[in-house]
């Protein structure tokens, strides 16, 4: 075990994957010699050569198109999009190509080897072009998987799984805690399962669901709730597509209450899918309306980001509302 921050864990996972399999390639803007604007790809070019870790021209649609071709050919590309806010030029390549490659060819060809990494989320004074949480868009795309780690341990294990998973994975990294989240990470190669949620804390009165950096927010709120005698069960979804509805529903059937927290705007955020599914499956067990504590339906602001964020205080208020309903 070594103490690492989230970025170091990502870098360690990339080193591990590249060392284990010569087919693994890393590409993206500034990922080469420089090691990426967040330094997640530091030293990869020096370690594995220019052919396996390279800068691309500045074109996200090109990066994903190129990576789709690489994946179809049999290479294992890990493509970095510098900020999740800049993934949208590649949206067509992802939704119409990556996601449909296998289906449309009857399984003859696929992009299953592809992993797309992108830092996402707010709280870094980035305004609306360096703060977006676009995960919900991707959960409406059958054919890809969407994975988000919450800390260094999850990051390494989930990223290694994502790279080796036979399906294309969008791996979103909560950049707000890139350096702040520090923890013990095994030095060896390990994988954590995709599609499974993680129970961060067991509780009895209400289920709190989140992912990425917001899990800490939930933990914070749960701690305060406990002082009020409210016992929260906290679930980190980890995989948003496919997502672990079974675990979430089992928890809600037990607690009778659900709160979902995400940074993205509330309308058509991924919270809506969770709420829609849970209200159907847990209808007779729900004791209060499912709460969504989310971003406002505005572009991500700059100077008012503290007010905008679905923070622990707002979460606590919603917990209280739910429990007292």
């Amino acid at each position: 075990m070594i103490k690492m921050n989230l970025l170091q864990a990502i870098n360690n996972a990339l080193v591990t994957a590249m060392a284990a399999n010569p087919k693994v390639l890393v590409l993206g803007e500034d990922v080469g010699h420089f090691g990426g604007v967040f330094r997640a790809t530091s030293d990869l070019q020096a370690k594995f050569g220019r052919e396996r870790c390279f800068n691309t021209p500045l074109t996200e649609q090109g990066i994903i198109g190129f990576a789709n071709g690489l994946a179809a050919q049999g290479c294992i590309p890990v493509a970095e999009i510098q900020f999740a806010d800049y993934i949208f030029p590649a949206f067509d390549q992802i939704i119409n190509e990556t996601a449909k490659f296998r289906y449309r060819s009857g399984g003859q060809f696929d992009c299953g080897n592809l992993t797309i990494r992108a830092p996402y989320g707010g709280g870094i004074a980035g305004g609306h072009y360096h703060s977006q949480s676009p995960e919900a868009f991707f959960t409406h795309i059958p054919g890809i998987k969407v994975v988000i780690p919450r800390n260094p341990y999850q990051a390494k294990g989930l990223l290694l799984s994502a790279i080796r998973d036979p399906d294309p994975v969008l791996f979103l990294e909560p950049k707000r805690i890139y350096r702040a989240s520090v923890g013990d990470v095994p030095e060896e190669d390990y994988e954590l399962p995709l599609g499974q949620a993680d129970v961060v804390q067991v509780g009895t009165d209400i289920t709190l669901v989140g992912w990425g950096a917001q899990v800490e927010v939930l933990q914070d709120a749960a701690e305060q709730a406990l002082k009020l005698g409210i016992s929260c069960e906290i679930i980190d979804l980890q995989s948003l597509l496919p997502w672990d509805a079974e675990l979430v529903c089992a928890s809600v059937n037990k607690t009778g209450r659900l709160l979902i927290n995400h940074e993205a705007p509330v309308t058509s955020g991924f919270g809506s899918e969770i709420a829609a599914t849970v209200q159907e499956r847990c209808f007779l067990h729900l004791e209060s309306p499912i709460q969504r504590v989310c971003g406002l339906d505005t572009p991500y602001p700059l100077i008012q980001e503290k007010q905008y964020m679905p923070d622990a205080l707002k979460t606590l208020a919603a917990i209280k509302y739910s429990v007292n309903y």
């Binding site: 649609q61 289906y103 060819s105």
Partner: protein, 397 residues
Amino acid sequence: MIELNERNHLQHIQITHDVELQQHAHESIPMLQLLDEQGMLLSTTCPLWDQATATKIFNTMHYIRILDERMVSAQRQGRISFYLACTGEEAAVIASTAALQPNDMIMTQYREQGALAYRGYSTEQFMNQLFSNALDPNKGRQMPIHYGDKALNFMTVSSPLGTQIPQAAGYAYGQRVSGESAVTICYFGEGAASEGDFHAGLNMAAVLGCPTIFLCRNNGYAISTPANEQFVGDGIAARGIGYGVKTIRVDGNDALAVFIATQTARQIALEEQCPVLIEAMTYRLAAHSTSDDPSSYRVNEEEQKWQAKDPLQRLQRHLIQQQWFDEAATEAYCEHHRNEVLRALKVAERQPNIPIDEIVTDVYAQVPLHLQTQLDALKDHVAAHPNDYPKMTGEKS
């Protein structure tokens, strides 16, 4: 009503008789032509092909014409839902594929059935895809003409235009780093070349050293949009120069010129591990697809001028010149394939449909729980209403 005039998108293009890859534009990039309209060789120095290759190209061109004609009718009769013919562009597609090796990957737009036929795709295989039957490799999921065959290194066609262009760069990069002695050819129309993906693909291939042959069929139209409303520069070739990509413009109706240009391009791509752009000047004699009627956007005289430049006729005259033409054999070949197409069509349309279970496979490598649940519910529902849904005769029933 705005007047339609005859258009000639080759108007400003000069002719050369030398195989010369250009990296820098002159007034206008010349177009390589090796056979004149009478099929006479225009160059005494250029490399040639052998009789077997020329004949195979010629026969495949006939085959595609037969297939296209027959399937356009089949669509009119309502037997298939959609078709898209390659008429007039057979040389550009087939002669270029002929210059490749079987391990080279082919990534197409949708009008390149000739490439697949040249590689050996059977009439039965064409029909199974066109009829979306249980033998369709795409499992009935894509519209007709979206062929794909892993064994023949022919990537499954995808409708969104231009997406295969950066993919072809990536695929070729993969071939290079895997140490394969192979290239990727990427076909697309001059319309698709307006997409952002074209820009990304060409530039990335150039910068990253990808052995990709980009072959643009400049056939003058993107559905109804004429080339002069698509771009105003010196065609697609001039853009290659801009990316620092070795570029050649070729008469797309001259099978020999296409063959030699592609052969040269392949050699350079492989030896220098770099991309090459070929702009094949041709004309879409067909309607855009069976959903289209070009008479409302172009004049008959224009089509006739291009009819006269029929690449099949030109190649036939060349074969005659070379004393490689066997009229009886050609007749027999065509007769045989006309019958084969008819027969295969009838067989394919009687094939069962894909089993309903396949509606959820191949979304992921494994069917995930939520999709299995959705499938189970769907099957229960269909079973409860057996007369309200098409028979899925592929099913055990």
